[in-house]
Amino acid sequence: MAAWHNVVIIGGGGAGLRAAIAIAEANPKLNVAIVSKVYPMRSHTVSAEGGAAAVAGRDDADDSFDEHAYDTVSGSDWLCDQDAVEAFVVEARRELLQLEHWGCPWSRRPDGRIAVRAFGGMKKKRTWFAADKTGFHLLHTLFQTALSYSDIVRYDEWFVTKLLVHDGRVRGVVAVELATGATETIVADAVIVCTGGCGRVFPFTTNANIKTGDGMALAYQAGAPLKDMEFVQYHPTGLPFTGILITEAARAEGGWLLNKDGYRYLQDYDLGSPTDQPTMRSMELGPRDRLSQAFVHEMEKGRTIEHEAGHVVHLDLRHLGKELIDSRLPFVRELCASYQNIDPVSELVPVRPVVHYMMGGIHTDINGATPLTGLYAAGEVACVSINGANRLGSNSLPELLVFGARAGKAAAEFVSDVPGAATGPVLAQGRDEERRLHRELAGRHGSGGERLADIRTEMQDAMEAGAGIYRDEASLIKAIDKVAELKERFARAAIDDTSRTFNTELIAMLELSGMLDVAECIVASALRREESRGAHQRTDFPGRNDEKYLAHSLIRRTPAGESRVDYLPVTITRWPPGERVYGR
């Protein structure tokens, strides 16, 4: 069987939905489909808490696009592309307003205008928020708005296993319908990958179970390069057992980070000195990379607190008072109560750094186009890059809107111009993939092989040990060797479930296969970058080296199946590389 659409979007999260609406608006005649492994409103965007950054408005004269751009550039440790950032800051504001017009319940000031809050690494208050459920409201607003475009076709709970490439052009995908186990070749003139991040490659993460980097692996296997994969963001404040995020908004509203002596230790790490009221770009409002690194140093000095689930520091919100916590941070209170059994109104919250966000991803230009004709990407899976070596909190939600819309428009234009091509070879490829899937299902059963979960856990532990907040050559080589070993073992892993109906074990197997590729790309890229920049800290190369590495890494798969890393210079428009200064 084969279906056909002008554009197939993989992923129904923020980026995918925004792209779909952009296409529907650009050219209502185009036939657009969203293929998503979960119902769109279950996508991980739903978990985003703190907010979305954009210069707030005409009467907030004390902020400017240039300042948002500068914060983003310095936050990225100069590894972003400044042309992309300049476009981003302007369009971010437009997108957040558009979302308001679609009904997003942004929190308001008393006079009815949009309210903004402070956020880490931002010099001005410019983070729009919907209490502390920003991603939830953003995603549901987009999903519900997309429902009004009844022509958008949805494949809900379909899992994409392969990109079909013929004659150097992406021509469709193969997907499995979870409910029935049916496989289908879906032919398309263009494909937009919006599959989100890959936090589940690590053991301790804020990311949902579905964030397994599928799209990165799909693109890599299809021959498209992945960019800046060594840059993995650790968020400084996750709950110890679960890794559930306590949003940066908690610190933006005035929360403090304390070590075991009750001391605001960030003052010892060149992040400024403590003030009662939060100071922008200072102390607890410093950037995430620096805060997570400070935690490691505190731990080495023996100044963290030993907790059942490892070392922690304390997030102190008590002085904010119940009223503020309930109005601005209700979800934080709910999460602390459910998952940690504490009340932040009166108790300290134990937190530790946790893998949160992937700066790297599928290499795209400013319009979401990849070097592979017909393939586009947007959202966390993509790397444009506005985030460089360290993303600023609250830049990701506006990013997925801005570049989701851009990718949608670019794909719409592309398919309107592109000549049709024979589908025969594409269908043949699709059939091969469908046969492979059936073999996987039948062949892996009862072979007495290892459990998937064991291989996954070993991969996660190897990544944390080898490619964590601090890395060096030895740790990375160890991780590379481990991933290679796990790939071999994976080939022999077994699954219990041979049913076609809603076979989540088969899906977990396909996800793990992709995650092993993504893990390999992360460590291989990290090994090659012999400097420290942003979230990539090499203890054997402690300084930033602009002469050699003011460049994006690009990792791609050679025809022989090995990985190769090249570099691409960053684009600098107005802000030459400088020192990152926080708190002074």
Partner: protein, 262 residues
């Protein structure tokens, strides 16, 4: 289970206070005519949700168990199941609350089962667009470069109804939906009200036919179980009651006033 298995399943979590038995409903409608029960012993840890127990089964004991989950923080709405007879989000329902056990886990009631703990929610997905859960803008749309003004008080009018995560616990709890599958149901009505009561929205009229129909609010006999089941305090029962009032007032107006003057 071997010791090494156990080590991988639960790294860094020493806090075991024994085990608890989970009785899990198993059903493959394509192969079996009715559900059966499987029983598994899982570690009883104070921080483990029912979902962690299921994940332990899936990863270490029986890979064939099917269920949905994703965020594990009570916001994506995937993991609704029936736990000891009540509809619950399994990621925010804790095993210790059921000690010493057993904990019985079944699929949500009132939905067809696809497999094991996975239910078919296509009925809701089809009904949702019929209530037009999107902002219908009127004449007073703001300029492209500015926002609608909306005070915090105006937002409070609909805020509660905007918190729905589409988890389906309310449908599972609803005795009306159990008997009348055409009933639009609690969450869809709450979402319609979320927009009806939004000061920016002008879509009341557009939603009226569906909401005020026999399958809309009037199907509800005000049992209120939906609001009890709702994990996000949406109060769909309140939304329904409030719309009944609106619809009744409108019906009286329709009788008294000639068309056009309404």
């Amino acid at each position: 289970m071997s010791e090494t298995d156990d080590k991988h399943a639960v790294p860094d979590m020493p806090d075991t206070t024994g085990t608890i038995t989970m009785e899990v409903a198993r059903f493959r409608p394509d192969r079996e005519s009715e559900p059966s029960w499987d029983s598994y012993d899982v570690p009883l840890r104070k921080e483990w949700a029912v979902l962690d127990g299921l994940n332990h089964i899936k990863d270490q004991l029986d890979g064939t168990l099917s269920y949905r989950w994703s965020c594990r923080m009570g916001i994506c709405g995937s993991c609704g199941m029936t736990v000891n007879g009540e509809p619950k989000l399994t990621c925010s329902t804790f095993l210790t609350d059921y000690a010493p056990g057993p904990v019985r886990v079944e699929p949500l009631a009132n939905f067809p089962v696809i497999r094991d703990l996975v239910v078919d929610i296509e009925d809701f997905m089809a009904k949702l667009p019929t209530v037009k859960p999107w902002l219908v803008s009127g004449d007073e749309e703001p300029a492209e470069d500015s926002e609608y003004r909306q005070t915090p008080a105006e937002m409070d009018d609909y805020r509660r109804y905007s918190m729905c995560i589409n988890c389906m616990l309310c449908y599972s709890a609803c005795p009306v939906y159990a008997l009348d599958p055409d009933f639009i149901g609690p969450a869809a009505i709450a979402l319609a009200q979320r927009y009806n009561l939004d000061s920016r929205d002008e879509g009341n009229e557009d939603r009226r036919d569906v909401l005020a129909s026999a399958e809309g609010v009037w199907a509800c006999t005000f049992v209120g179980e939906c609001s009890v089941a709702c994990p996000k305090d949406v109060d769909p029962a309140g939304a329904i009651q409030r719309y009944k009032l609106t619809a009744a007032t409108q019906a009286v107006k329709d009788l008294l006033l000639p068309r056009g003057a309404r």
